[in-house]
Amino acid sequence: METDPLVPPAALSGEVTLPPALADAEPVQSVCTPIRLSYTYTPGRALSRYLRAMAGKRILGERCPVTGQVFVPPRGVSPLGGTATSESVELPDTGYVESFNITRVPIERRPDLKPPYCSAWIVLDGASVGFLGLVINIAPEEVRIGMRVRAVWKPDDELETSAANILGWEPTGESDEVITDYERIGRADPPPS
């Protein structure tokens, strides 16, 4: 049977007949079907070192023995070459915004994230790659690429072995980093010469 592809099939066009019991009922038009996976997460050795340092307000990265690149948070291997990292590198809690996004739509079950808010790719001083963080204590519209930021830590008596110890990143007021090569945003820095 030939069908006209431009004519929606009856089953999608709303032309259905209902049993009398539903004649006056407000039709359901959507259904929530969550997919949920509940894990117990064990971070492994490199991330455990990083998380234990976090409890003391220190940020630990790890250096690739081949290229010298510094990765944070550390995964125990260079994500580029696959070489095992062995040397811990303590990094300052300052860096700059390499890229950012302003979110204006709320996320279900995240009442702590009040739109509009700014998530950013933050590169710490001395790190070869960035990671995701929230930019706080500034209107999202004023955030810019290259803006210098510093970690805002939880109060000392609330610190845990968790990256959530960093509440967000606030502007330092220093002059912006000058970014000239926008092609490289989001990529690892080349190995130090």
Partner: protein
Amino acid sequence: MVTEVLQAPLVLEYPFTRSTGPVIGAFLTGLREGVICGVRRADGTVLCPPLEYDPLTADPLTELVEVQQSGEVLTWAWNGEPRPMQPFDRAFAWALIRLDGADTSMLHAVFADSPSGMSTGMRVRAVWRDEREGHIADIAGFEPETQRPSE
């Protein structure tokens, strides 16, 4: 040096909301109203839960009809250790249930005390939740008809 291994709960969740279309929407509307709907094929047989298209001819299906709230267990499997968010917090059976007035079966939970309370061909009836929103879980599950004879 012995160091405590770090671990933490991690939940990965996608809270999808999908649109239903008029056929599945009517089925869910029915559940909210305490009515179970099927859809009639051209040969007069009734599919429940309803499908939007005929599984043999691919024709659109549009005639929704009410089916009964009792039916027959076609096959079942005992779930001895329910996981979180399953229909019941103690052991129950998953079953394919063909409701009276339907020619196909739907998967749902049957509340029985033990596997010996389950059998192929047994009669069951729907147990509704008090608060319903248009979701398959508006039917809490099915109970053996012998536990509560029809009024």
